[in-house]
């Protein structure tokens, strides 16, 4: 606003100076022009007198005054009177000298012409010499002097006007320059203030972005604590179990030859060996039917305490067909043998548990690390889009498994160029919002597909949808539908910025039961060139 005012002040001042200068210059110029005009009238008057003089000599040479000469003379006299009157009006004959001189000359020549007309040529010549010529000379001198004066005046005024023009221009230039300097200075000051304000805003924004991230992180912490503590618990238990298994194995092995004969030992080692090779039953849901089937068969085979034995066998790793272990189950040292087999095979199982738990915990820590990073790489890098999405799904694994059906359709993609850390934040916000929209569970679908020269990532939830009046505002900063203190209102704004940084697009489609955020990111040129577009394929 202030900037605009200074600018208009400069323009107005310049105009005033320019108009003022122009007016005075015009006055001076008019004056100069007038002087020049008077000068030219005087010169014309002189030429009229010259003409009259010529007519006089024509009459003398003709020795008579013919009609033509009379007429021409009258014409010149009228012209002379007019010119004299104009000269007088212009103030060039202030003392009336020219008018008097002309009167004398005109009177003398009129008498001379009358003499010629009367044939008194000699008298006329005398008059000419005595009166007409001196009057002519005198008048010519007066006219010449007046013309010279006018010329000098015109020259002076003209110079003054020219000087005025220059001076005015210089003045105007000075004023404009001064105003412009002031304008520039105030603009610089304002620009600096604006730059400071922008800088401050950017810092604030960076802080807000960071605090938005930390707020989201705060909401995640609970789940993350669980995500880390569960594998830690498993590692601790498995390590202790392994230690116990080794201890009791070392205690038991020397007794094996006493408790079992060669054939039993062979059956025993063959069972352990098979068990170690068997695929572990990962989930209890996989395990339960196997256990029940085995327990039933053991019961049918007359094995006492079938369920407990079956459970132990399944934990050892024994799978159907169990006929080969039946002799062992009927062996008098059955419990001792099964315990040894359990210790031997559980060593392996506990190692597997530890490895799997470490992997789980490492994944969580890695996801956290890439999520919470403050400094984003300033240069675009080539990265795996899938990995950025996996990081987020890993972080939200806990929330997702609670009543949320997760469906992922990932097409194979070339690597993209961009800022993976920021995309992690983008997916975090979208997944977070999707889960927030489905507190009682639902379906979260993530699709990644190549579309021409773009990759389109869709995050779809089965929540109630975004109301129409809200949809236009969701990308605005600080707009939040979440209760105060729960959302920063920056999530989707950040999403839009991240998408813009990748020269991509983000769109939302929403109706009850299906809200889809679609993010389109450009593929690197090399990846686009490598494969023809779908249209080209169709053609």
């Amino acid at each position: 606003m202030a900037l605009l005012q200074s600018a208009s002040r400069v323009v107005v001042s310049s105009l005033i100076v320019a108009v003022g200068a122009a007016a005075s210059i015009q006055a001076l110029s008019q004056w100069a022009a007038q002087s020049a005009e008077t000068e030219s009238r005087l010169i014309e008057l002189q030429s009229t007198l010259n003409a009259m003089n010529a007519l006089e000599w024509r009459a003398i040479s003709l020795r008579s005054l013919d009609e033509e000469t009379t007429e021409a003379f009258e014409h010149e006299r009228t012209r002379a009177s007019t010119l004299l009157a104009a000269t007088n009006a212009a103030g060039a004959d202030a003392n009336g000298e020219l008018a008097d001189g002309y009167e004398r000359y005109a009177g003398a020549i009129a008498r001379e012409l009358t003499m010629i007309d009367q044939g008194r040529i000699d008298e006329a010549l005398e008059l000419d010499e005595a009166e007409v010529d001196p009057a002519f000379e005198h008048l010519a001198e007066g006219i010449s002097a007046a013309a010279a004066e006018r010329h000098a005046e015109s020259d002076r005024v003209g110079k003054l006007a020219a000087f005025g023009t220059t001076a005015s221009l210089l003045l105007a230039a000075a004023v404009i320059g001064w105003m412009f300097t002031r304008f520039t200075r105030s603009r610089e000051r304002q620009t600096r203030q604006l730059a400071d304000a922008l800088n401050e805003l950017q810092q604030t924004q960076a802080q807000l972005v960071q605090s938005a991230k930390l707020a989201a992180l705060g909401q995640l912490i609970a789940g993350i604590a669980h995500e880390i503590n569960s594998p830690l618990g498993a590692i601790r238990a498995a390590a202790s179990n392994g230690e116990a298994a080794i201890g009791s194995t070392l205690d038991a092995l020397p007794e094996l030859s006493e408790r079992a004969d060669a054939a039993t030992r062979e059956q025993f080692f063959s069972m352990v060996s098979d068990a170690l090779k068997s695929a572990p039953l990962v989930t209890s849901a996989e395990r339960r039917p196997v256990l029940r089937a085995l327990a039933r068969k053991l019961d049918e085979a007359g094995i006492a305490d079938a369920r407990a034995v079956a459970d132990l066998l399944v934990d050892i790793g024994v799978r159907a067909p169990f006929d080969r272990v039946l002799p062992l189950l009927r062996h008098p040292a059955r419990d001792w043998l099964l315990k040894l087999a359990y210790d031997l095979t559980r060593l392996n199982e506990n190692n597997r548990t530890i490895l799997s738990a470490v992997e789980r915990a490492a994944k969580v820590v890695f996801a956290l690390k890439s999520y919470a990073r403050v400094e984003h790489a300033s240069d675009a890098q080539r990265f795996d889009l899938r990995a950025t999405i996996d990081t987020v799904l890993e972080l939200y694994r806990n929330q997702i498994k609670h009543g949320i059906e997760l469906v992922c359709n990932f097409e194979d993609l070339p690597r993209l160029d961009g800022y993976p850390d920021e995309l992690v934040q983008l997916w975090t916000n979208l997944v977070h919002n999707a889960l927030h929209a489905m507190p009682a569970g639902g379906r979260l679908e993530i699709d990644v597909a190549k579309r021409g020269s773009e990759v389109v990532v869709s995050v779809t939830d089965s929540g109630p949808g975004i109301p129409d009046d809200v949809r236009n505002r969701i990308f605005e900063p600080f707009f939040s539908t979440k209760p105060r203190g729960e959302g920063t209102g920056l999530g989707l704004h950040i999403c839009r910025q991240v998408v813009a940084k990748h020269q991509g697009r983000i769109e939302v489609d929403s109706r009850p039961g299906e809200t889809r955020f679609r993010v389109a990111l450009p593929l690197p040129a090399s990846a686009v060139d490598a494969e023809p577009e779908p249209e080209a394929l169709a053609a």
Binding site: A222, G223, A225, H226, E227, I228, N229, S230, P231, L232, G233, A234, I235, R236, A237, A238, S240, N241, A244, V282, T283, S284, A285, R287, R288, R292, A304, D305, R307, A308, D311, D315, D335, R346, E349, N350, T353, S356, A357, R360, N398, K401, H402, G403
Partner: protein, 129 residues
Amino acid sequence: MTRSAILCVDDEAIVLSSLKEQLRRRFGDRYLYETAASAEEAWTLIGELAEDGIGILMIISDWLMPGIKGDEFLAQVHDAHPDVLTVMLTGQAEARAIERAQREANLLACIHKPWDEIELLDLVGASLG
């Protein structure tokens, strides 16, 4: 010989597997050790065990699980089977949830992951006698 079961409920197979082994190593064949990955599966299992005439002595349940959370599950169990002892074993639980389990499920204890083997097994041993 009919024995009763200790039921472990956790959505992490590695937790179930190692916890069960700890129980078996300490208590041997005194109990059956059953596992379920969710409250829903636990209910199915409780039904199956009942068919086989096997009772549940104790349930050691995680809190943060798919579907029904630990406190709610234990409260439901307590409703249906008031004699069953309940223990929560969790990496993270809201204070409100623990209070609810104590109030509505007669919670014996809430043990935090990564759990101390001796603490857990002593608790189980002492409670089951």
